[in-house]
Each structure stands twice: as structure tokens, then as C-alpha cells.
Amino acid sequence: MLQLIENEKIRETVNGKRVITKKPELLAPAGSLEKLKVAVHYGADAVFIGGQEFGLRSNAGNFSIEEMREGVEFAKKYGAVIYVTTNIFAHNENMAGLEEYLQAIEGVGVRGIIVADPLIIETCRSVAPKLEIHLSTQQSLSNWKAVKYWKQEGLHRVVLAREVGAEEMFKMKEEVDIEIEAFVHGAMCIAYSGRCVLSNHMTARDSNRGGCCQSCRWDYDLYEEVDGGEKALFNEDDAPFAMSPKDLKLIESIPHMIELGIDSLKVEGRMKSIHYVATVISVYRKVIDAYCADPDNFKIQKEWLEELDRCANRPTASSFFEGEPGYEQQMFGDHASKMKWDFAGLVLDYDQATQMVTLQQRNYFKTGDTVEFFGPDIESFKLTVGQIWDEKGNELEIANHPLQIVKFKCERPLFSYNMMRKENI
């Protein structure tokens, strides 16, 4: 059952047809300038990035202030905006340099910061007041009264805990007038974010300052203590105890989220490839646009779902949005699964006259391979690769050098930023 928010202007009737006038923002992750550009080009309304300080994911690609400036300028051309994650829980030693950092972010035109620690919230308010402040999911925000608290504190937006379901979001939207951002796609914590220090104990890496080593995804054996002794609660052939969640995928719940008036739909994964970002963002873009244009006749298309699966390397599930996730939303036993399609190349240029595509190689391919092209400005299509040339015009049979520039013939027009993928056999 869809719950609809009625007291807010989400929809209108135009010529007897219902349309959604309040489109949610599609928010993409980017771990590098290239990923940011791809995300925006493939339809993201906003992109969140990490800076070199105060953010989680210390090993994700992080942006210098200059790169942020370039990202903001690029996004602006598409009407998109940039947010910077500054969501550590600081220790005393992390407090230095914060003011200058926030002012620099504000100075390059970033729209807002995603933040968990009141230290950063309050500092931002006083030294960089033009930045919007979004509460990070690290605060495990799970009820409407806590949402009200952050509204009273003047925050612009809250990112909900991943444990919040559709009905709970409905109530939050009803009770409090504040922008709500919710995760729709990607890997996630099995614990309440911010409330897990497994990593600190097991590897002395601080999870709440970006050091998380994902100890929750390891295998454990379950025992019980009986009269001071230990009794195994598993048999030899049982899969070990595991806490690994399937990745979140809410593509089929997007209509419901739009009707709830959720303001921003967030895709996770700053460490993921440009192929991942392009595929996921383009599919969510299509679903949001199609639903908003004609909600009453909307039907999710099989091709969209298939397309989304092409960049998945782990099983997916709907997590808490559709109710309490059971065992079938976790992974036990063998975790490995392979991507069905590999990213093979990025289109740099296309010559209409000669029908030659210039491509940057991203994965091995050769003459005779069947590949697929996709992009925001084309319908996806398949092609059997013919003769390949390198930049200097030498004939090649195999494109096997990473980032090598190659050319081959393609009769259907392509555009820069289109991508080529190859089925994994």
C-alpha cells in the first residue's frame, strides 16, 4: 500500500492527468573528479564527495579544494550541486584546522556539508554560514521527535538511519517540515552507523574516523557457554555465523518514496567505478523521470532492472524500507559473486563522417567481441567489434593496455562519456 503525503505540494493535475511536481533529488557518490563528472553527466542532481579531512572513508578518493572548485563549476553547467562529507566524530586532536577548511569549502561554491558531530555543525554555522548543514546517517536518526530536534537546531536536511522504514518516513514527513534524505542503493552497515567499533577492537582502526575495516563482513563461529564450558551452536557442514548484509536496492520502491515526499534519494559508493556510477545513476534517473511524468500509468521496465544488475557484484535487497529484513537479506557461506558485465571502455569522441569512435580502454577486449554501448544520450545497443586501431593508426587485434586510446568503427552515433561494457563469460 502506498502511503501518500497529502498536505504537501507533491503532485498536480495537468489536463486531467496527474503529474508529480516535486521531484526528489537524485544524489550520487563520487570518489574522484572523473566520477563526479560522470555522475552529473548521467543524471545526478547532486553529488557528494569527500574532502581530504574530517570525512569517513580515509581510503576513498578524496578531493583537494581545487578539485572541489572544478567539480562545482562542472556541476553548475548541468544545474547540479555538490555536497562535502565531513562526518567524522572528532577526537580532540582532530579539531584543529576545521574553520579554515569549512571556509575553503564554502569559498569554492559547495552547496552543503554532511555532518554528524555537533562540533562541526556549530563551527560551520559560525564560520561558513552559506553552507547548508545536512545531518549524516552517522547520527542514526530513527524517529520523528529526533528529526524535530535537528529542525529546531536549524539544520537544512537530515539523512535518516538506514534502519528507517516507509511508514516511519511518512510520519517524519508529516510531523516535521525538514528535507529528508534516504539511501536507495549501495553497500551499507549492518550495525547502526556510528554505533559500531568492531574495527577499533579488532584492528585498532577507528571506524568513526574513517578507519573501518569491515570486520562485520568476516565469518565467526557461534558458541554458547554451558557450566563454564563451550558448546558449538553449529555443525561441521553449517555455514559460519555471518553479519554481511546484501546491498541495498530500492529501485522498485522509488514511486513510493516519491509519494512520501522524500527530498533526496541517495546512492552510496564513493569507492565504486565510473561504470557503476553511470549505470546506477542512469537507471534511477529514468525511473524518477518516468514516474513523475505519469505516475498513474507508470510501470517499471524489465530492461531497467536488467541494466541495474549489470554493475552489481553482490546480491541486493530492500533492507528496512519494506519492513524488517530477515535472513534472506543477509549473506551466509560463499560471499563471492562476479560482476555480470565488465566496463570495457569510455567514449572520448565520435566522428560522424568516418563513423569512427575514439575510446579509452578500461578492460581487455578484442576484434570479434560483442560489446554494449550505453549512455544518457543514446539507447543502449550491441556491436561486434571489427578492426581496432591504436592512436597512431596501427592495426590491433586486442586492446589490452589499460587507458590505451583506440579507435574502431561504429555505425550508430556515440557521444563522449558513453560507455562500453562487455559480458563476463
Partner: protein, 310 residues
Amino acid sequence: MKKPELLVTPKSVDHISALIEMGADAFVIGEHQFGLRLAGEFSVSDVEKATKLIHEAGKKVYVAVNAIFHNDRIDALDNYLKEMQRIGVDALIFGDPAVVVAVRELEITIPLHWNPETIATNWFQANYWYERGAKRTVLARELSLDEVIEIKENAQPEIQVQIHGMTCMFQSKRSLLGNYFLYRDEVMEIENRKANKNMFLHDKERKNKYPIFEDVNGTHIFSPNDMCLIDELTELFEAGIDSLKFDGVLHTEGYINTVTNCYRQAIDAYFDTGEDAYDDIKDELLEKIEEIQPELRPLDTGFIFKETVY
């Protein structure tokens, strides 16, 4: 110098008198509907009885309302807070800002203690919540001694530090034990073990054992060791830490009594007689605790002397 408070966790109303005798100054009680990972389960009428008992002895009682609340418990929270106001407990321990809003709306006058566990990591946050009514901050257990001292030096609220017992390292809303049994199609196991608190995860690589249990708040996983600072208290005493907590979750009454008394002796020796008196008895106190320490629970000093990287 002011004596720090010795804060303990009784397992039941009947357990309180023994702990008063053992020298406890203050008690954390509550029920799992509202509080997290408590040593004992106290209904509202138990809280009322416990408060009477504790106040008669001139001691303090704090009630835990530090769950991560979802909408379904927000109304119940209001009623619970009103009951606590009526009973007149000495503090409410919270982590979720919903409690701050509820306390304001209901004009509850009980002081607040801010205890979100893992995220209380700097003095700025302590002062931030102080301005919003939290007269005490309970620090994350993942801090070093230097960090604790620097926070105390810069914080306006009282500072509470855990000095003994296990610490929670993970809370998931999911039913992870139940899911494991369901995955193996062993529904009976779930029923059999619903209330059991004797399970643990074995980490073969690190040879560690992590206690694990489930309740209405989800699945909780605990540190492989009990932290024990009985012989390392001098610097905390000197820093003027206001409250020292021994968390007795998953321990027996007998264990909690003995350990409480050891810390009582340590505090009294230092503050009544002097540092030398404490130094004279601290090894003996440590031995006393080691004697009763369960085999599966080695002692360590938590993060007090351990650096984390990121």
C-alpha cells in the same frame, strides 16, 4: 580533591542493598524497552522500589533511556518520562535527541546525562549537550587516557568514565542470531535461546570471544575483554573525573559485589589516606579481581593505553 562517584549496575531490586554495603555511590537501572544493555531488568514499580531504597541510603539512582528510538516507542517514552518524574530519580541517561525534545515538552526537571556511547569523543560535544540540559557526559570507551583528561579539562559538564566491565562494540537493529538460526531452518533454536545471554562469537584469527545477545533493541556484541583499571586509577583521580562506572552487564551478582568493593577500597585509600595508600593496595585488589574473573573474560585496560589509527 573531590571523591569521584562509584557508579554500578545492580541486577535486581534485591541486589541493591548488597551493593550499598559494598560501597556503591550510585546506580544505573532501567528496562530494555528504553535503556540499552542493562545488567538487570527494572519495571517502573521496580524503579520506584529501588529509588526508595537508594535514596534512604543517601545514594543516587539514574535511569537509562538511551535506546535508539523508532517512532513506535515515542509515545511510550513520554509516559515513561512522566513516571520517572513522579518517582523522582536523580538523572535520565540519554543518547537520542528525542529525549531532549520530550523532556522540554513535558517540563521534566530531572537532570540529563548524555550517553550515546561510541560517539561521545570530544569536549566540544560535551559542552554542546551541556547547553541543552545534559549536566553530565559519559565518554566513549574508545578514548585514550590523554583524550579523557583533555576532555575533562575543557568540559563544563561532569565527566563519567567506565573503569571496569565489558563494553558494547556493535548494535544492529537486525535479529542477527534469529536470522542465523532461520537461515539454517532451526526455528526451535530461536525459541530455546530467546532470553539467553550466554552466547558468544568466536573469532578464530584473533582467538577472541565476543558475547552476543538480542533484545527489543536488536543485536548487541561486546568486547572480548573486561576492562579493568583498578591499578591504573591515579591519573583519573588527579584529573578530577566525576564518576567512575563499573558496568556489570553479563556478570553475576557475586562478581559485581566483589569488584564494586575493590573499587570502593581503591577510591577510599587514595582520597582518605593518600596516593601511597592506594599504591600499597592496588596490586592486591587486582589479584582479588583476577581470582574471580571468569575464564572466558580476560582483563585488559580498554583503549586507555591504546592508540587507534584511521
